[in-house]
Amino acid sequence: MLLLIFILLPIVSALILILYERINKESGSLITFTSTLINLSIVIFLFFISSDNRIVYHIGGWPSPLGISLVLDSFSLLMLFVINLISCLSMLYSIDYIKHYDSRAKFFILNLFLIAGLNGVVLSGDIFNLYIFLEIIAFASYALIAFGLGKEDLEASIRYQVIGTIGSFFIFFGIGFLYSVTGSLDLADISKIIHQHSATNRAILFAIPLLLFGFSLKAALVPFHAWLPDAHPTAPAPVSAMLSGVVIKVSGIYGIVRIFFSVTGVSTTLLQILLYAGLISVFFGAFAALYQNDFKRILAYSSISQIGYIMLGIGIGTPLGYAGALLHIINHAAFKSLFFMVAGAVNYATGKRDTRELGGLSKKMPITYISSISSSLSLAGIPPFGGFFSKFLILLALVKANHLTLSILLVISFLLTLAYFIKIHRRVFLRSENSELYKNVKEVPYSMRIAMIILAIICLGLGLTFPWIMKTFINSAVNIFTNGINYGNIISGL
């Protein structure tokens, strides 16, 4: 019952807001923030009540293969925590940020549907519902990217719409092949049937590339990345924080892990593909970020690079690699959302996004500057910030799995990451030649400051509490990867 709230609460508050919008077009910040805060507190509550973090809720009381079920396991719980933390903070941030846009109620309605879709994907125990929630995420983000209605916004949105719809159709085609073999749509049931009867069925071997293509399009792995550097920077800053921090992970990486690890089972070829696609993404994103001048565009390319680290960690195929990847999911969500919020704050205060025109903001905007330092130290992997531990775990896993060349390349990529964040800092905050242009620049309003400070503390805290996080959250989530195909037997017994 508790699981249903995650999906229903945002949808119900969106419906209330749709009705209330007729009275007041600029309302909605309070109800949105409250419902995300309630969701966040339920996630934290779930961490404490469930001993093995495994809950199954059958909607309407119908038993599992027939009815629709919501499934929570430790990996879902981890993703649910990331989603609700980032969405709560980005809604807090947008209370003040969104004040210079018109029809704010529509912004909050779309965001509520986005959050409902995100929660739905990680909780769904049913492959068709997973697809429907993916579509809800996609539509909400298409509309949110075009929210400014400028030339750039519309162009980025239409490109994302075309590419995203193609990805969705590929996923749907793959689901059709899985259904044609197993005759079931329940994830646990499909997993059981595949491993009892038809492990090497040719239709399933055909479904795997289709699903991989669709989910890699959603995750922006390198051959399929072209939409991301347009779509993420043009959206309003809190939406960019959600898109880069959460959406690509939920609709891309969660899909890949859930479908391939838990349902169809992974082969070594698939792991190799993920490993090398991840490595190419790491380098492509880092090099492209070095050549950009737009603040948010640097961050968007950096997202491609960091998603590459996560894929690389998964592709190594050892428990240590999985742990690194999972830790990097949390860390990347924290520091990249914070960095997009910083970029939004700089844009809010000065009206500029080009790093060549900015400079000397460190004295004018101290809180923005401090949060920027926290997020970029985490991004560059400097101890004791959180990013260090996740990157170190991935490197350690590579060395232990005898990929020595790859680990040397990975160290080079760490240096590239350091280079582009130093470039941002020097140009935006430290260089003082342009400072007389910005005499009237003030620190951003309170709700934006509070959101940034909280995330900055989380970036540091994730590093300081690293052993505790590993013990309580990561180790049980790694079991989902290593148990793999036993998912069906574990879940269908509940």
């Binding site: 579509e135 519309l154 162009e155 239409i158 193609i166 085609f173 072209a226 550097p229 043009t234």
Partner: protein, 112 residues
Amino acid sequence: MGTLIYISSFLLFLIGLYCVVVKDNLIKIIIGIKIMGYGVCLFYIMISYKSDAIAPIIIKGVKNYTDPLPQALIPAIMAASFAAMILMLATSIRLFEKHKTLDMSKIKELKG
């Protein structure tokens, strides 16, 4: 004959994909996406087919029924692809107002 119909639905999907990749006009791209959607829908209809089976209504003495589930999924996917098309058309109207063209090769504010 049985495999031919699967191949043709996949072919329809690929024709749509070709249209999306090759054409520059935004309306033609949207038509291509719809063709892809119809290919997938046709595939779903075909996987519920069984030879010598009747419609899924319980009659005494008949044991071979076609699968009713994929047909029930089709309305959901039709609604989803319809919503996608509406959003794309709305965006292209706005784009046409700004650029006075629907040619994607001429709409290049972003570097990609």
